[in-house]
């Protein structure tokens, strides 16, 4: 009674486990995983394209909210995507673990008992012969690497255990990849920093513009080092007419202080700098014009390089200058920089070449409240003009200010003046480390080798039997598709024949 109750209780878990670990289920989960990955390529993902998500929200806020509820902006960390791959890996373990046990036993066991009816095997040959053929067969099969079992009047042999070994190792290395991705991601970090020529960056949390740590990251992982951007160079294609102005190389020349060692080095795209505990990558670049702003009292209220964000391939760039200490009122400037300026018929400027050949800066100047004291974090690259009044600019009371390098101009109403002191370049650097990376690579390489083994190595059984009456039977069987099986058996029989005649 009790045992029947228990077995009933046990029925469902066992049923589900069988279902989950069946090959059919693994197949369905794989197809589900493929389908579930699709939306991540259709909708912008927070991890890969945060601006795309913001853009989506701005354009279609209601739809975006719904999509967000469904985690469609975070597909690859979503509950449903995770559920599928976790089930898939559970199913994998449930399938592979018992098979490992069986395989271990097979590796130690003798080849199977020779079947009664060899003529039913996919490949079968028979001819007249005596026991000398069996002796010869032992030699030939052994030489060909078969595992042999002599059973009275027959030989049973098997080869290609590496096929199943490869299959199992492949699946285990996928688990390895998953674990390495998980743990490695936990301890990983990447920090972004914009560095203007001449600036120095010290590797600690405070000096990053943005920083994304893994869940298990601790600040101690940041090794102390510092980096100075000495010069940033862009090499343009000048040799080919059709490509003139196309950048062919970006070179950030840096001086690095790694504590023990000081070096100078170049960071280029595809060629990061190996710093202690992290690699430093070059991810972007642009112009940083040096500007001085004098306020109405003649005091310097801003001085230094401003990072301008590139807007097009000819490096038309946009920058924002904020002078909160200017008197009598705060000053804000939205400035455009054109490395090679050309005036359009509309009166607006555009850049026609990315290198500074005739650089020009235009400024729209605002006065009023910059909104910096309200406690709301402000984007350094944007100016909130709601509480400001335009005093110079397109469609303003006075035309926009235009400056070439070295020029200065007065602001209207005695509010001060601005000066374009010089031109520098900046580099966007990314300091990143993922300790799991090397393990992911090792497991991936292992999976590739074992996959190849599992798919290419044939597993074959060959039998030779002496039938009373002077007949010899040869038979072969292969697991899965094996186009060469007939030919292989033919060869083996040939070798056995020539061996037995000697």
């Amino acid at each position: 009674m009790a045992s029947s109750f228990l077995s009933k209780l046990w029925f469902w878990p066992r049923f589900f486990w069988r279902q989950l670990t069946s090959m059919r289920n693994a197949l369905i989960l794989l197809l589900l995983l493929a389908v579930a990955a699709v939306p991540g390529s259709v909708y912008p993902q927070r991890s890969a394209d945060p601006n795309g998500v913001k853009f989506f929200y701005d354009n279609e806020p209601e739809l975006a909210a719904v999509l967000d509820q469904l985690q469609l902006f975070d597909v690859y960390t979503s509950v449903w995507f995770s559920a599928i791959y976790i089930l898939l890996f559970v199913s994998l373990a449930g399938c592979v673990l018992p098979r490992t046990k069986i395989h271990f036993e097979a590796l130690r066991a003798r080849p199977v008992q020779t079947p009664k009816n060899l003529e039913r095997m996919p490949e079968y040959l028979s001819e007249a012969g005596d026991s000398s053929v069996l002796e010869s067969a032992m030699v030939v099969l052994k030489k060909r690497g078969f595992r042999i079992d002599r059973q009275q009047e027959s030989i049973s042999s098997e080869k290609g255990y590496a096929k199943e070994t490869g299959n199992l190792v492949f699946h285990y290395s996928l688990v390895g990849v998953l674990l390495a991705v998980g743990f490695g991601g936990g301890f990983s970090f990447s920090g972004q920093r914009v560095l203007v020529e001449g600036d120095t960056f010290v590797n600690n949390l405070a000096s990053y513009d943005s920083f994304s740590p893994g869940a298990l990251f601790n600040e101690g992982q940041l090794e102390p080092f510092s980096l100075t951007l000495d010069e940033f160079d862009v090499v343009y294609d000048l040799a080919n007419r059709a490509n003139i102005g196309q950048p062919i190389d970006f070179v950030a020349s840096v001086s690095a202080d790694f504590g023990q060692t000081q070096t100078t080095s170049d960071i280029r795209v595809n060629y990061p700098l190996a710093a202690p505990g992290a690699n430093v990558y070059l991810t972007g670049n642009g112009f940083a014009p040096v500007v001085t702003v004098f306020d109405g009292d003649g005091n310097i209220s801003y001085q230094g390089p401003i990072v301008f964000l590139p807007q097009d391939s000819n490096m038309t760039s946009l920058g924002v200058i904020k002078a909160p200490d200017a008197l009598p009122e705060q000053l804000g400037i939205i400035a455009f920089f054109y490395p090679t300026a050309e005036k359009l018929t509309t009166g607006a400027y555009t850049s026609i070449y990315p290198d500074p050949i005739s650089p020009l800066m235009t400024m729209n100047v605002y006065t009023g409240n910059l909104g910096l004291d309200s406690g709301i974090p402000r984007n350094a690259y944007a100016l909130d003009t709601t509480n400001m009044e335009m005093i110079a600019g397109r469609d303003g009371p006075v035309a926009a200010i235009e400056l070439e390098v070295g020029q200065s101009a007065d602001l209207p109403d005695g509010l001060g003046s601005v000066r374009f002191d010089g031109l520098l370049r900046f580099a966007s650097l990314d300091v990143a480390h993922n300790p799991g990376g090397i393990w992911v690579l090792l497991f991936a390489a292992l999976s590739l080798v074992s996959l190849t083994m599992s798919l290419m190595v044939p597993r074959r059984r060959v039998w030779v039997r002496l039938v009373p009456g002077g007949k010899i039977e040869f038979a072969a069987l292969s697991r899965r598709d094996d186009p060469n099986l007939p030919q292989v058996l033919e060869e083996i029989v040939q070798e056995i024949r020539s061996g037995s005649k000697k």
Binding site: L27, V38, A48, D49, N240, D430, V440, L451
Partner: protein, 310 residues
Amino acid sequence: MTEVVLNEPLSQVSLLFVSSALAFLALALVLFSFQLVKLSTVEAVSSEAKAASSGSIMVDEKIATDKMTATERAGFILLWVSTAILGVGVVLRGVAAGRVPWANMYEFSISGAFLILLVYLTALKIKDLRFIATFITGFALITVFAAVSLFYVEVQTIMPALQSYWLVIHVVVAIMATGFLAVAAGMHIAYLLKASDRARKLFSHFPELLQLERIAYRFNVVGFVLWSFTLIAGAVWAERAWHRYWGWDTKEVWTFIIWVLYAGYLHAMATRGWNGKRAAWLGLVAFLSVIFNFTIVNLFFKGLHVYSGL
């Protein structure tokens, strides 16, 4: 990077070769289609005749499939010629650009078509795969035509992100994988045509279903291994160029999806009740994803793999 002087006149010569390969491919396709139709009608008639006069054996039945007809021979000569001409075009393009000829969609397409033809013609030496000549030629023709008409760009120096030896390794293996998977897709189509109730008669001269399935499997297996390598090599390159080995960039997503689909196909082949038609459909869907990844994802999806040059 050392400055590369592009050779534009030479790239025009290359384009000439590629375009003429197009003409030869078109001719070969006409001949193969003609042959296919002829065989189908012969077979259809012969099987009807067989049904009508049960017992009397059609003498010519085997000859039609085993021996090459003049049409077929001419088709294969044309196919060899077009492959050779296309090969010259691809090599000249590389010489003109001073680098490997697969840095944008146009170049990837012509290199890919060339490799698919080469894989097929080599496979022919080992195994009688004449029956998918129409499919392979048609596929190569469409690829080269799309390259010349839709994807064409002048020779360009490549952007810094592509200046890496990984461009050679990652992309060449991707092209090879596509070549093997394309031949397998041809087998899947042949299988599904032959297995369909309506078209069965027309394609009775194709090999047996079991054999079609096996050939498809073999090509898919090689393609899958190469695809896995492409994925791993891409991750290694991404770690150098984009400071992370995997970031779910749209192209990475689709490479992953394709890998999973082919993994599903391999499981299907080992699952009772899932091989046969279902596996063939799955393999075909997987290959359509490869095409989708190369065309739609390249051109219309936002991502980091922006190298179409368009």
